[in-house]
Symmetry: C2
Subunit: 166 residues, 2 copies
Amino acid sequence: MPGTRLDAIDRMILAELQADGRMTNVELARRVGISAPPCLRRVRTLEEQGYIRGYHADVDPRELGFEVQVFAMVGLVSQAEADLSAFEARCRSWPLVRECHMLNGEVDFILKCVSPDLRTFQTFLTESLTAAPNVASVKTSLVIRQAKGEPGVPFEVLEERLARQA
Amino acid sequence: MPGTRLDAIDRMILAELQADGRMTNVELARRVGISAPPCLRRVRTLEEQGYIRGYHADVDPRELGFEVQVFAMVGLVSQAEADLSAFEARCRSWPLVRECHMLNGEVDFILKCVSPDLRTFQTFLTESLTAAPNVASVKTSLVIRQAKGEPGVPFEVLEERLARQA
DNA sequence: GCTGAAATCGCCTAACG
DNA sequence: CGTTAGGCGATTTCAGC
């Protein structure tokens, strides 16, 4: 089933639900110009085929007392696949680490972390991250402020691209 | 209104909606142990007070043809506030840039970008980002693979912390 | 195959206690 | 916060393109 190409209505559905994931199905149907039942069927199909991985409320970390956000650049000693996987598994087990990306270039991983305060993060940094097996170097940068934080993908770019191909 | 402290039920609501933003209100009410009407009132209040900034479908970039994800580290010539703001405004206008964080340390900004392919990104990099006023240096790292990508905040850490204080 | 219309069922959301 | 109750949305069924 994966690889099924999407038509214009499917892409509109994805764009609308990315912008407002709690929109009612009838409102969504109205916006994309079809009636509710086929619209709901399309949404279900998009979910089953993995185009939509889930729906999440966007919770403000600061309001909840997570005052600190940090990017951590991690270098490993060994980049053998087993060692990479082991480090990734550790990252998944650390709640303060929200994202873990393996990169090319000098640094092996970039981690996006949140923490209630600096002290909690420092403890994590020294006792967990830096102390983890195979970790060679960690460089951290505090987020001063976030200027942009758009979820998901730019559908505008996708549409532009499809128009160009046609 | 902001600063209103949250009780245990509010925090459960936030945790549930972060995990599944499309949950029905009656299901949410059942999970947090209250009836539907007060549950809905709490959700509305949490939205109004900014604890919930929105709801978004989590769309898989790869499935949609965004094969390339890149982190870009940007250094500026001038860090005067007006120049920082100007750069941030530019970032907001670039669709390929999904996140823009101002950092402490040697690099001024980190940008998370998505692109359909390398060629599109290279064009953006040379013609837009590097060419922008006040940009001194740009270092990019391609994402090889993503090992973790949890949305939002770790409520487990919050609860642990509150229990500790009590 | 797809869509759309009708009908049922369940949820949302007021008003009130 | 809970209960009641009316209106609306969600979802199935079925017919038509």
